[in-house]
Every structure is written in structure tokens, then in C-alpha cells.
């Protein structure tokens, strides 16, 4: 069975949108409420390999792509969640994927996306005394938010 078909079968109604860029690059959009479950299915049940996650600022809203490798088929499946508002929040996947904690810390400090249930949401790339509310990868730039006291 083709990967796209088995994805549709396993995830069913939870898929809001499917974008088959080509056989090896599939993008799926799901709701935040279904994220934990869908990631669990991709990672454990379908044995997808955790590659990395990438957050993006869409000027006003945010999105996260969780990339999974399906190496037998040579494919990458990217699970997309869209996050509304300036103060986005999403459940942490650390209970499902142990290795994901670092990239979640990175997305939190660079984009200001909060991960609920993360075991230690603290700075990873930026220094500990980095000014609060200053998220360098946001499109409005790193100049807004609280200024450093220095």
C-alpha cells in the first residue's frame, strides 16, 4: 500500500488537509487537539523516525511542522499544526518522543511557542538571562519585547 493511503487509513478523520508534494514528500495538517495522538501513531505504530520539528512565524499566527522519516519508502511525512494568536501553546511530545525535548526548548526560546507538559522548558541556545518576551525568530524581529537591562 502506498504511504499516503496508509496514512489516510491510520489517521482517518483527523487529517484536516493532505498535500502530496510528490511521492516522497507528504504534508499533513491536523488540529492541535489531535496532535499527541497523531504523533504517537506516526512514531510508534507506523514506526516513523523522528527527524526534527520546525516552527515558523506566519506573521500573526504560528505553525509547527513535525518531520518524520519513513525510510523504507524513502519519504518524509511532515505533520503540521496551525497555532492562532500571539501567545501560542501546544502540548509537548516529549512523552511520545524522548529526543524531541531539545528542539521544543529551541522553538520556545526562539519563537515563543509554549509547550505544556515539557519536563524542563528552559533556555538551550540563548543564555539564561535572555530578556523575557524577546523571541529572535519572530518576524517582528528581536528588537521588540522587553529590553535587556544591560
Amino acid at each position: 500500500m502506498k504511504l499516503a493511503d496508509s496514512l489516510k487509513e491510520k489517521l482517518g478523520e483527523r487529517i484536516r488537509e493532505i498535500n502530496i508534494h510528490n511521492e516522497r514528500r507528504i504534508y499533513l495538517t491536523v488540529d492541535v487537539k489531535d496532535l499527541l495522538e497523531c504523533a504517537g501513531i506516526l512514531f510508534r505504530e507506523m514506526d516513523g523516525r523522528y527527524i526534527v520539528a520546525s516552527g515558523a512565524d506566519n506573521s500573526g499566527s504560528f505553525e509547527i511542522l513535525y518531520h518524520f522519516g519513513f525510510d523504507r519508502q524513502g519519504s518524509v511525512v511532515s505533520l503540521r499544526v496551525l497555532l492562532a494568536g500571539k501567545d501560542p501553546e501546544v502540548p509537548s511530545l516529549s512523552a511520545v518522543i524522548p529526543g524531541i525535548t531539545y528542539i521544543e526548548r529551541e522553538m520556545w526560546e526562539l519563537l515563543g511557542i509554549r509547550f505544556t507538559g515539557h519536563p524542563g522548558l528552559r533556555h538551550f541556545l540563548l543564555r539564561e538571562d535572555w530578556p523575557q518576551g524577546n523571541y529572535p525568530l519572530r518576524k517582528e524581529g528581536a528588537t521588540e519585547g522587553e529590553k535587556s537591562e544591560e
Partner: protein, 399 residues
């Protein structure tokens, strides 16, 4: 720390030998490591952010600056990603040239690792040999690309320079000599009883660990996971030549060394076949790309350390709107939590080196007592402990 018996060993962040400063804290109970913490960002250059302000073509050379050892891995993955947005392939000749550069880089990177591993174990002869042989590869790079490193060979749609027919005979000669030297080095390393004692069963990673942390490259292949982007998601000339993926099953540092050493022979063979394919022929080396349409693309390359992953998004303008880069060490380094736990301090240097993490932090290791903050050891002492352990094994004092 609540338990005063625990000692924290900070490793890093700066080290003059290699790039990428990083910081590790080893939590130790006596001689045994009980936990490892990793902190990064000491040399954070915000390349993902910078990329959003550069032209598509400039980004190729920007990402080449990410790593000084495997400098072609990032342009390789980035070009694959942009070509994924465009939906184009590169001319056949460019495919072969790309693979030649990629494999030459693998040989020099693996030799660099073998040398460093020998150095950490007190086998400086291995270090001298490996780095001497590596030098001839760098000379080949200089001949083909004009540079020993940062070759600037890649561009979106193809490569920037052709490989001249006149250069090919001397390339073949170097490859022939290289094969003999690699064989000698491989036998010397693999048949050495002391190295076997130092490396076998040390820093073991199970298939489960590989899955949990998403580890890639020789680290994963040493644990029996046969994932290799070149085979599984073929690109460039890799589907056009014959070669095999090297895997072993024990997951210890010894097996990681075996995988790397055997991979260099495959690389020599790939380069030879690619040279055969382009010798005496003429052909285009690039498809002109005028603009990048809106869309998103994923590009991957099997770097010497494993899968290098680039995600690029375009809105149709001159620069990417989002460029996510994941180097293989980002998923390989977290495996220290599994591989160091339960090991002795004298084995930590080689376990950390076993992942080949662009290792740059070792010179400034210091061991502090958590209770009174008194300095116990520095990294020179740790390396000394590692070497003494080797010496004791040689003398037959321990097994």
C-alpha cells in the same frame, strides 16, 4: 545537588581543535557516570535567521560555513531542498561531480575521526597516520575545487566547476594509493587487541536508543539500523553507481569505528565509478534557475555524521521565508544520555568522541567536587586517565 557524593564534571564549552563549542555536565557517583546534560549555543550564529535576509544563491555559501569539516553537506542538502521546491533535477554530469565531492568529504572526515579517536586513547601513531593520509584528500580537493575546505562547488541547479579530464589520472593515482593505506590502517586498528579491549562493549547504544533519540549515520548503522539517505531517498549519482550500506550490530564504539573505516572503501569505489562515468565526456553541469516559486521543499544529504536535513519555504521572493537546518549531531549528541550512563569516567572521552560530534569542547574539561567546588581534574588529566588505562591493559595489569 542534594547528594554530595555526586560530582559534576563540566566539559567545554571551548576547545581550539574543532569547531562547535558545546557544554556537557557529567553527573558522577564515584567513577561511574549517572547522567549527562547537554547545553549548546556558545557559538550560535543565527544562520536560520540570516538565511531569511540572503538571496537564494547566497544561502548556498552561507550554509557552507556551518561546518568546517563536512562543509559540503549543508549546501548539498540545501540545494536538494530548493530543487525539491522547483521540481527540477540537475544534469547527469553535475550529479556525478556532486557525489565525488560528497564522498571525498566522507573519506577525509572519517580519517579525521579515526585520528582523533586514536589520540584520545593514547595511540598517537594512529593519529599521525590518519591525518597524514587525510592530507592527500585535501590536496585532491585543492586540485579540483581550488580550496582545501569550503569548496564552493554547489549551486542551485548544478555545480559551479567542472572536473577536467586532465585532473582525473592524478585523482585515480591518489585513490589507488589511498586504498592501500586505508587497508593497512583498518587492519592495524581492527586487529589490535588493546583497542578491542578499550572499545568493545563501551558506550553501547541499542536499537531502542537509536529510535528514541532519532540518531543517524554511522552511530545508527553501528547499532544495526541500516538507514542511509543515499540508499533510501536516492539523489545525485548514488542510484547510478554500485555500493553497499555498511552496518554492524553491537552498537559500541568499536563498531562505530568499523562502520566508518569500511565506509571509506565504499567511498573510494563510488568516486572511481563516478570518474569512469564522466571521463572523456562533455556535458552540461548546471540547469539555470532564474527564480524560485512559492512553495516548500525538503532536502537531505547523508553527511559523514549522518542525515543532514534542510526545510526551506519560499513565498516567491528573493529569499527563503523560513529555513530550518538540522545537522546530524543535533540528534546524535542526545544519545550520550544512554551511552555514557553507567560507564566509567576514563571511558567518557572516547564515548563522546565515538559519536564524532564535531567535538570541540574537550580541552576545557574540569572535574569539580559538587560539595566544596574544588577542582579535581581538567581535561588533560581525563585524557591522561584514558591513556593510562590503555597502558595498563598493554602491560597486562587489567583486562
Amino acid at each position: 545537588m542534594k547528594n554530595k557524593k555526586r560530582v559534576i564534571i563540566p566539559i567545554g564549552p571551548y576547545h581550539p581543535l574543532l569547531e562547535e563549542p558545546e557544554f556537557f555536565s557529567l553527573y558522577c557517583d564515584g567513577e561511574t557516570v549517572v547522567d549527562v546534560e547537554w547545553e549548546a549555543g556558545y557559538n550560535h550564529r543565527a544562520i536560520e535567521k540570516l538565511s531569511e535576509s540572503k538571496h537564494w544563491d547566497q544561502v548556498t555559501f552561507l550554509v557552507e560555513r556551518i561546518c568546517g569539516i563536512c562543509s559540503t553537506s549543508h549546501p548539498f542538502a540545501y540545494c536538494n531542498a530548493v530543487e525539491d521546491i522547483l521540481g527540477i533535477t540537475v544534469p547527469e554530469r553535475a550529479k556525478y561531480i556532486r557525489s565525488i565531492i560528497g564522498e571525498m568529504e566522507r573519506i577525509h572526515s572519517h580519517l579525521l575521526w579515526v585520528g582523533l579517536a586514536g589520540h584520545f586513547l593514547g595511540y598517537n601513531t594512529v593519529f599521525m597516520w590518519a591525518w597524514k593520509y587525510r592530507e592527500t584528500i585535501l590536496d585532491m580537493f585543492e586540485m579540483i575545487t581550488g580550496n582545501r575546505n569550503h569548496y564552493a562547488m554547489f549551486r542551485i541547479g548544478g555545480v559551479r566547476r567542472d572536473i577536467e579530464d586532465g585532473d582525473i589520472p592524478s585523482l585515480r593515482k591518489v585513490l589507488g594509493e589511498m586504498e592501500g593505506k586505508l587497508e593497512m590502517l583498518t587492519r592495524a586498528v581492527l586487529d589490535d587487541p588493546v583497542l578491542a579491549v578499550r572499545l568493545k562493549g563501551v558506550g553501547v547504544l541499542t536499537r531502542r536508543d537509536i529510535k528514541d533519540f532519532g540518531a543517524v549515520g554511522p552511530v545508527a548503522r553501528a547499532s544495526g539500523v541500516d538507514f542511509d539517505v543515499r540508499k533510501d531517498d536516492p539523489y545525485a549519482a548514488y542510484p547510478l553507481v554500485k555500493w553497499k550500506v555498511i552496518t554492524t550490530g553491537n552498537g559500541d564504539v568499536f563498531d562505530k569505528a568499523v562502520v566508518r573505516l569500511l565506509e571509506t572503501f565504499e567511498s573510494v569505489s563510488i568516486i572511481r565509478q563516478c570518474l569512469d562515468a564522466i571521463e572523456g565526456k562533455k556535458g552540461e553541469i548546471e540547469n539555470q534557475v532564474r527564480e524560485v516559486p512559492a512553495g516548500q521543499g525538503i532536502g537531505r544529504h547523508e553527511a559523514p555524521r549522518g542525515e543532514c536535513f534542510h526545510y526551506v519555504r519560499s513565498d516567491g521572493a528573493n529569499s527563503p521565508v523560513r529555513h530550518k537546518i538540522r545537522a546530524p549531531s543535533y540528534v546524535n549528541i542526545p544519545t550520550f544520555k544512554a551511552s555514557c550512563t553507567g560507564q566509567t569516567i576514563s571511558d567518557v572521552a572516547i564515548i563522546l568522541a565515538g559519536v564524532d560530534p564535531c567535538y570541540c569542547c574537550t580541552e576545557r574539561v574540569a572535574v569539580y567536587d559538587a560539595g566544596n567546588k574544588k577542582k579535581l581534574y581538567g581535561f588533560p588529566e581525563l585524557v591522561e586517565m584514558s591513556r593510562k588505562k590503555t597502558e595498563r591493559i598493554i602491560k597486562g595489569e587489567m583486562k
